[in-house]
Assembly symmetry: C2
Amino acid sequence: MNKIVAGVDIGGTNTVIGLVTREGNCIAETSFPTQESSDFETFTDKIASQALNLIEQQKGNLNLLGVGIGAPNGSYITGQIIDAANLRWKGTLNLCSSIEQSLKVPTLLTNDANAAALGEMLFGDAKGMKNFVFVTLGTGLGSGIVVDGKLMVGHTGFAGELGHTNVKPWGRECTCGKRGCLETYVSASGLRRTVFKLLSLSNEPSALRNFTYDAISAKIIADLAQKGDRIAINAFENTGATLGMKLADIVAVFNPEAIFLFGGLSKAGNLIFEPTKRHMDKNLLPVFRNTVNVIPSGLENKNAAVLGAAALIWKTLPK
Amino acid sequence: MNKIVAGVDIGGTNTVIGLVTREGNCIAETSFPTQESSDFETFTDKIASQALNLIEQQKGNLNLLGVGIGAPNGSYITGQIIDAANLRWKGTLNLCSSIEQSLKVPTLLTNDANAAALGEMLFGDAKGMKNFVFVTLGTGLGSGIVVDGKLMVGHTGFAGELGHTNVKPWGRECTCGKRGCLETYVSASGLRRTVFKLLSLSNEPSALRNFTYDAISAKIIADLAQKGDRIAINAFENTGATLGMKLADIVAVFNPEAIFLFGGLSKAGNLIFEPTKRHMDKNLLPVFRNTVNVIPSGLENKNAAVLGAAALIWKTLPK
């Protein structure tokens, strides 16, 4: 019997389940729409039955050691999802206990970015690192932070919300209800907002003037920047300035060995990495100069969320 | 023979040495001016000889187990002081190795705020806490952060510099060379700067108009606020607003159980605690509401720096 862990990524749109080996290979994967179950019990039953189906399809030679789950507002401490904005079930959801009851194996939960950070540590480019920060740049900005070799989870299991720290008092409205959060500037949607601000400020001709707000994407902005569009280039410059300044603060607080950037926006490569590093370096205290690398995630072309979720369990098992 | 640890607090003005029991009692203490030694070797020799003197004065019944040191820019990882702005010896100073050579006992170093955080954990009100943040509000703003029961030191030993994280892009000039650092707003000197800004903005009569910039102190501002001076009250309100907003960010990142405030400014009591807590609560993400206490340090009337330095060693020894 080969040992296997199920990694589950619960997203606002889809829930993905993968079977992950100790080496970080996902040997089978399935998914279903998250919101199709009207009650939460039906949803957790579906996770359990789909995981069992996946295992059976492997002709019975797999031994399931545990289930790791990444989910928005998932608490590592309580195993519960609490008040997740993008799920249809409200309040406090007892996720781990109900999966454990169905599958009779240890089940661990954390938020998606925390899970991905663990994935980087076990299966990516953070192998052997004791102190690093993992930043996901998608629609929003998520983060997972590893301190002294352990994922930082905090007192109630929700540590690591860099996306909702402030970068500008009375700045842009955030979906969380606050203003000026980092993710309103540094994320795919933040980049779009920056483009629209720049279009309002300057008379520079730009192909971006042909797009509606909803039609524009980080990919379109990156493609135009590659072609020399000044507005698109400046949007990345401004985004890198805000991220770089925040990363300098992160370095002052965590003194990490590396900061990994992951997700849609990070795929723009040097368009985002160059200004980010330049502005970070400019804002570092002398004692932190040349102590930290800002680098792409080693999981960029893999299913980081599923691998990371599985890493929650693999990390607890002796080699 | 009773077991004892020497706690050493190296400040810009004085170096204090105390003998600290496992229970956190400082049974003897001495100090000398830090800057009177022209070279660093003379300085470390003096620390060693004064520590031995203190022990001899106790009539030979003490067994020195180790030396813990708190110093500006002190690295826990390397045992070195690097480029400390307020010491006369420049560059990299091999502090721990030279004390170890003289006294033949384990010697550990960290910065002063980190040491004080450990003091709070071993001897103060953070006993039993796994995740907390300790903030010193003196001339500047220092911090020490405990994650999962361990002082967070980072990759090169300099983690925990909250004072130099940004609160306002292009804000006030900081002694570190950057602009808009938290400590330019939230510290004794930040409070004074805020008073002068408020005096410039309003026509409100205030006794504070009778003071020169250098003559004014946090104590004077606090006393006038207690008497109802509107400028003084508003200065604390503004300081609490900036600190509270930053603490909400700290909670989002660290999810701590408690945040301790220590030092000159924290002695103003509710003048600083009330607005700080109010503005923190207003800026907390829902998931963090009612999860964290902002409270005064339990070491407020003790020599936190010396106790904390000694805690570096006591923490490593079995009970």
